[in-house]
């Protein structure tokens, strides 16, 4: 043992421990930075409007083409571009060809603010459409509001967006994200008391889209007398959900209602399968509503009887949906079930502008804002109306995996088949 160098080595080890700790902190900070952020702001107010027939109608959009939301960001891009192509092939909007200016925000709430400021003040676009996710829509909508721009948006349905009380926001889905579990609650309520679950577990992801959905459903189920035996909120960085699932498996709930996103939904199903625990009802807010991804991740035979919620469905007969699906297939290939609902949501944004132009003959921001605040507007997402804060007033649909297919099952007016319960054992 080298005694002479011992003290120096000791100092070196201590210095390294400090360096490693800094490394750990750096890694943690990068992880956290990837999960959140905040917005910045600037001043000035005013409004811009469009006019002049023949001049292209320039629409500015910031999308997450890289970073955490790049997959849905690209799906939204497909929807917007498909709408622009379709509308241009039919003469444009109010006689003006549509020109999209799409910029990348790298999934950053700071960048999205910069992007919309640049689009409005530097590029002087005629209109702006929304980005992907509540996280980015909130700050972006404020920028648009400051300059008097309408902010019709496809994917910012969390409470944070509507709490801003902005009159220029219109979330183009049938219902706010928070209410996505309402049709499932209504379905359970419609069952005879003897067939309803007696106990429930609520494991949810710590995310503004996810846990509030389960919280709202828990309140409703408790009011119906369904006893809560387990509730937890797990952080997004939870690598392994098996211990969480083990905890509720031990409580043997009749129903599992999980506020999930995607990977956590798959992990929970896989852990339940491995534990050999099959509750009578399983509702996964998100993840299970992906027609292609879900069966590939959990195994097609394990999907049967699982409920989820959806705002759009490929076979829907809503205004222009069959045409949208056909155009999508022609442009991008695949089957209708390969279409990401985000593409439909983005397409619906364009449809609304088209509808306003058709009704009023104008496409300026003031007209769009005042028009959309009155009446009901048709789109591939169904007929939508909004309250003063831009929150839609309709209802999502309940989806269930029946016979190996994801189908709308409730409410009856949109259902393609009847809901089935209790859930069969894993493996069908």
């Amino acid at each position: 043992m080298p005694a002479a160098g011992g003290q120096k080595e000791g100092q070196n080890v201590r210095r390294l421990v400090v360096l490693i700790s800094l490394g750990v902190l750096l890694a943690v900070s990068v992880t956290l930075a990837a999960c959140g952020g905040s917005s910045s702001s600037s001043t000035n107010a005013g409004s811009t409007s469009s006019s002049a027939n023949g001049k292209p109608l320039t629409i500015g959009i910031s999308l997450s083409l890289s970073g955490d939301f790049s997959d849905p960001g690209h799906a939204a891009q497909k929807g917007y571009q498909l709408w622009a192509k379709t509308v241009n092939a039919n003469g444009g909007v109010a006689g003006r060809k549509v020109k999209l200016k799409i910029v990348d925000d790298a999934s950053s709430p700071n960048q999205v603010v910069t992007n919309y400021q640049n689009l409005i003040t530097r590029d002087k676009v005629d209109l702006v459409f929304g980005p992907f996710s509540t996280l980015l829509t909130g700050p972006a909508a404020s920028v648009a509001h400051r300059y008097g721009y309408a902010f019709v948006e496809p994917a910012g349905g969390g409470p944070a967006v509507f709490q801003e009380h902005l009159n220029n926001v219109f979330f183009v889905q049938p219902a706010p994200t928070l209410n996505c579990g309402d049709p499932f609650v209504a379905y359970i309520k419609s069952l005879p008391a003897s067939q309803r679950p007696k106990t429930a577990a609520y494991p949810s992801l710590d995310d503004p889209f996810s846990s509030p959905i389960a919280d709202r459903m828990q309140k409703a189920f408790e009011a119906m007398g369904i006893k809560t035996v387990y509730k937890t909120i797990y952080p997004s960085e939870t690598a392994d959900l098996t211990p969480v699932v083990e905890k509720y498996v031990a409580k043997k709930p009749d129903m599992v209602v999980a506020g999930t996103q995607s990977e956590d939904a798959y992990s929970q199903v896989k852990a339940m399968v491995q534990a050999g625990f099959s509750p009578k009802f399983v509702f996964l807010a998100n993840g299970a509503n992906s027609p292609t991804e879900f069966p590939s991740k959990v195994g097609a035979k394990n999907t049967e009887g699982i409920f989820s919620c959806g705002d759009w469905f490929p076979t829907s007969k809503a205004n222009g949906n069959p045409q949208f699906v056909a155009a999508y297939k022609a442009q991008y290939g695949g089957t209708p079930f390969d279409i990401d609902s985000t593409s439909a949501e983005a397409y619906a944004v364009g449809q609304l502008i088209q509808a306003v132009a058709k009704k009023t003959g104008k496409v300026d921001n003031k007209t769009i804002i005042s028009s959309l605040h009155s009446g009901t507007w048709p789109s591939v997402e169904g007929n939508i109306s909004w309250n003063a804060d831009g929150s839609p007033q309709g209802s999502d649909m309940l989806l269930e995996w029946v016979g190996g297919k994801l189908q709308p099952v409730y409410p009856p007016n949109v259902a393609l088949t009847k809901p089935t319960s209790p859930k069969p054992p894993w493996g069908g």
């Binding site: 043992m1 080298p2 160098g5 011992g6 080595e9 000791g10 070196n12 080890v13 201590r14 210095r15 390294l16 421990v17 360096l19 490693i20 700790s21 490394g23 750990v24 750096l26 890694a27 943690v28 990068v30 992880t31 990837a34 890289s66 970073g67 955490d68 790049s70 997959d71 710590d206 937890t232 909120i233 797990y234 952080p235 960085e237 939870t238 690598a239 392994d240 959900l241 098996t242 211990p243 969480v244 083990e246 905890k247 031990a250 995607s262 990977e263 798959y266 992990s267 896989k270 399968v273 491995q274 534990a275 050999g276 590939s296 991740k297 195994g299 394990n302 894993w426």
Partner: protein
Amino acid sequence: MHLFIQACILGLLAGGVYALMASGLTLAFGVMRVINVAQGAMIVLGAFLSYTLFTKLHIDPFVSVVLLTPLMFLVGVVLQLVFIRPLRADEREELSLLVTWALALGIEGLLSVLYKTNYRSTITSYADNSWRVLGYHLSEVRVFAFGMSVVILALLYVVLTRTEFGRTMRATVQNPVSARLLGVNVERVSALGFGISVATATAAGAVFGMVTPFFPGSHYDLISRLLSIIVLGGLGSLGGAIIAALFMGMAEAVFAAEISPTWSSFTFFIVLIAILLLRPQGLFGTNERGAL
């Protein structure tokens, strides 16, 4: 009590895989005084390579380990020659942090371009299977993953203690100057040591991809856990890293099941802070260079 024991079993199985992941990290530090913060990215790279072999060629991930580890061993040797060896010996510890961090970001960027940024999972036909033993269920994939980790770590132990190369490596760890005076080619040992480190990361990555969904950015979370493990075990101590990994794996699972999943992820960092305050050299480390 049933839940506690079930959580301990889960944690033990996960801890075995953590041990394999951390072994390469502590080996690289022990031999070269290199803090390889790219170890997490190497694991993710291993997960993607195994995923590709499974999805494109239907090669089982446990079989792909046999194919990939020799290849990645060579890649590790090349990386050491290109990125680590040129570093000045007296600044190697600090500079290796920066160089390997850059390497990690490079690997992440490359994987993002090739595979995009969405999550992947290597789902085998036996992914859903589990055994029931005395009322406790054991996932087949996790048991196989644990078993593979034990076999590889045992091989590593045999190489380090029973072979000429192992003796030269341990000599290098204990005193590189004396080892060099006695004819050990320290540079060669260092390159091979880094190769072994990358090879173990690849093997761990193959099983990691079967147990946990992963994407190119998964390495940030992994490396912070692994650094916590090797600090707890004692920097450069292989045995310490293994025991620390098993302990951390179990602590994480028990926290998630018995207390709250919110605190589970913090387990690693709480232990890290406690170790820094109470025993900075780790459980099995010393303030001086020691044996692996």
